[in-house]
Symmetry: D3
Subunit: 230 residues, 6 copies
């Protein structure tokens, strides 16, 4: 299904996005049962980058950024653009000019399984990008792809309107239908982790807090006071 | 052609280098017809690194940095040293001591298809390096290579005296004979991009600024108001 | 030898560790004859990270961080935890909670041949980690490994109580029995390098300081005033 | 959605599978509009391997092959098992014993985004496997995944009952609903390619058969009798 | 410890080596508790390659094969030469000439964490090599390493006289002191696997043979007759 | 310089090519001073592949094989086509149809820094290809490149008319002007190696044949009868 641009894709509710945005990617990934995480080669172009929003999806081709221009018109405030490419490619498909346009249209960030350029300018304007490479390599505008169709980006299926959260730990995708439930689970997890953190900081051990000692013994762990003589 | 060190290699004119230095690598790469860009695995050792100068070329061997010492004597103020290696290698061929020497001789930076070490010290002294790895691994001084002969570094042919520009987006090589022409094209491009940036920031779309709508339709892009029912 | 946790592993003497901690990884690696360096894919999770301490070793399995909890109980102030994994894995085995626990127990840092998460929190709390990846991917607690047995981490054998030094250049392991000797060699090297640095900064050449000219000529290096006509 | 095993997943019609099996992967990929191709790191474990069948999907975890045992019971004759893993892993999850079981149950092959072992025995019994690695590394049976749920394998979404075709060129996935249509397009393509092949073998050029000359000229290609003097 | 060549390194008993040689690498790796396996990037240079013998270890440097010549003199019939390199390198350190010499001296094969060349000739003479790359790149003879000292090769510690077994599944190292015990465990495992293979070929399931059903249920696996409606 | 197709590029003399074709790639690489070797990721698509001819060069773009059609018209019997791509790309740019055309036009093989497909058909027709990947991924015909201009392929500069030799060890490029000289050096080397091979097969050591003992001692190698007690 190529050559398709959908104008009115669904969006996740703003209120849920705001709740999800308060949690880190690692927490969200845990809260939805350790699913939805993109491969770790997707990295932010600057330290401290973080964003959360509704996915506007793009499918393009190697060495060709045409569909990012088509996408720019369909951006609504709060969107995070997610671009997949039909074959592995590290060309610099996105830079300062598109960044200016995306920000003006209200996008909160870009997740792109290709390269990014003008990273200094993007950092200075505060537009966060997660990419698999930084590359100054320019791209053509020759082959049509799609906007707002389901894509697979860095190993994860992304549907238009899914929630995409990204920070220094990576990128996680939360299906729109599960967003509220995941937000609740993530908030509960954060509350519980805050407690655990305090206990650990006070010197308690995870072995005791999580009650691991019995399971470890059952699994065969044996303690020795001294190294076995070899 | 190994075992050759050329004393009086050509240099690009300082005035042209200054003009090129004012443009970013992405712009220069575009301005010379999307050629001359090194592979994106060449990365700066610290954020904000940038330099532009006349290439002093070095050809060395894996695990051996001898020729960098030979090169140091032939550096002239304004040079950027470019080192290629005869086989893939990530050893730390360059560090604080050679950095001190290179800077004293007037080098503006180093582009090396191998590893670099002492990155903290190099960052503190402000000597920029683009390398394929950071590695503390030391190297021997055993096999002779060459200085100021044509080399292939990270996928690009570099002749002594070519202009090398490097920033956070990567490294681009501009043949000396084309430097003035590329400077002019890059300046024109920057001026035009400044205009485009203003229009995009005001909410205009690339689709309209670049007149892409007709070509997209011709290439088969179809708009739908709503997602197709599957 | 799996399923073993040794309580009283040896430690390197604190006084020697302090001396080693004052030298950089590149110097230590040179000082012990260019051995003991981990592969360069082991990178710090933030710029400026550095630590030196006595190795507490951990052997775990892909996708499983159980043994880090076992390790936390056995940490003594001044330890650097070194975790090897039985197969290549990039999951985020370590994050803010374990970081809180490790710091409370007195650990100085973690070297892990797997992934790390919560990098923002770890940077803010100043707990340094060297890892092969950043990944939010969570891990199970299902398979028993070992603590304080010899491991191979990123290409280097690490015995409990070896000295581990890590900075932006990488990670080096110094056998406990050689620690004092290496400290002395490293200090001598640093003193000598300080002299060399001053001479290089004054414009002298490595060619002369190290007396390389004769060996280069013998190895066949020929100087030409001008490029050979081709 | 983990911990789910579905007994009665859909299958693609045998008649369509037979038609698709007669075409190569490259042809099928073209016939469905250049979609559905797994990443090229998925390689057959022996030359000449080829299979085509209905996808029985498995989702497992790094270092853990438990779900392949669950899958073996649910195999029906003609199935191709497709296993995705929740994080990059190269462990040898599949070998001679599971191969014996799978073949006995009627499976035609395995596509696994992890490692495979006993490749000599599998080659001798003629059970084809496409994997990202060959590795003797054994796996545990500790964490539950799922069988016959949608998975993403090597960059492609696979639903239970999709058609999976694999040969020396790679692995392509054809959604069940499109299988008949793709079979027809592939057959038409093969017929046309047979003609083209004969014309090319007779010395005609693609330039003329496909009528490319005008488009090339329009795109700016210029012919020169001799190399431009530089 | 560089610059050391040990003449009389220990060897594993020939009788035990013969017993180990009858088992595959995957079996041996299981039989010694899933340890000792080299990383899967170590691949045989031709299909069907297999060997088993006593390790003669070599430590060399990137781009330098000098120590293989030193090793050739110290080879005893039945040895498998294992070469580690002090930094990642893919140069073609071994080819037909050294292969002729090694075979004449009685070596059974070579495991080298670098490159190999003349693969056609080596295949024709039946001298098996496991390497991380095939490369025609020649090497110098400039820097001294060691022979018959402990090395780390592809992630595994190898001591002189350990047993090294290699086949199409990879390379496993068995400490000399454990060789007899591992041979026994491997033989027992093979006998048991033969039984399991027969049962699987007769249609029994691993789920029943290994008694997995209860553990799966306890771990939360749920069976559904039909896909959950989404 | 894009958009250029040169009709009458130079060719290397047939007689010299025949002499070079009788030597292996490793020998040719040595004979021209260890230069001109492509990176080892360039691999033949089938075992036993070998070819030698005059380079017809092609520069294309990622995901686009248009220029291979332009090249097919310019092929002369005895040519080896060498295709470079302006950015890293693994798409299957070449397959059975182009193979049929190339062979009909008299090409001896293809060296392509991208992907290849239809490997079974190409093996059966005996048309050898060296590529960086096997991939069924199709390509567009949208962007113009060049034919018979200098290119950089897999790290080596290739000029039209250079000699390209390829076998299972890799791909080497010999500048046309040096071809006769390299042929002579390679023949001399082969004669000498034949002698060395016979001496090695008779049990002599490289240490003595090449007279290495003194240099090794001078470089610090020390022999011990027994392992040093640790």
């Amino acid at each position: 299904m190529s050559g398709v641009a959908v104008r009115n894709a669904p969006r996740a509710p703003a209120e849920v996005i705001e709740r999800l945005a308060r949690c880190g990617v690692a927490t969200l990934h845990e809260a939805q049962g350790r699913t939805g995480l993109m491969k770790p080669y997707m990295r932010p172009i600057y330290a401290g980058a973080a964003c959360c929003g509704s996915a506007l999806t793009v499918l393009g081709h190697p060495g060709d950024n045409w569909m990012l221009h088509v996408a720019s018109e369909l951006i609504r405030p709060g969107d995070v653009v997610v671009m997949a490419v039909s074959a592995d490619n590290e060309d610099g498909m996105f830079g300062e000019l598109l960044g200016t346009s995306f920000r003006t249209r209200g996008a909160r960030g870009l997740v792109i399984e290709a390269g990014c350029r003008d990273v200094k300018a993007l950092r200075e304007m505060g537009f966060p990008v997660w990419s698999r490479a930084v590359s100054a390599k320019g791209t053509v505008k020759a082959t049509v792809g799609s906007v707002n169709v389901p894509v697979v980006c860095a190993g994860v299926t992304v549907n238009p309107g899914d929630v995409v959260a990204a920070d220094e730990d990576g990128v996680v995708v939360i299906p729109r239908a599960r967003a509220a439930e995941v937000a609740q689970a993530a908030e509960a997890r954060e509350a519980k982790e805050e407690q655990t953190r305090r206990r650990l900081a006070a010197g308690e051990l995870g072995l005791d807090i999580y009650g691991m000692r019995e399971a470890l013994a059952k699994a065969g762990l044996k303690y020795f006071d001294d190294p076995p003589s070899s």
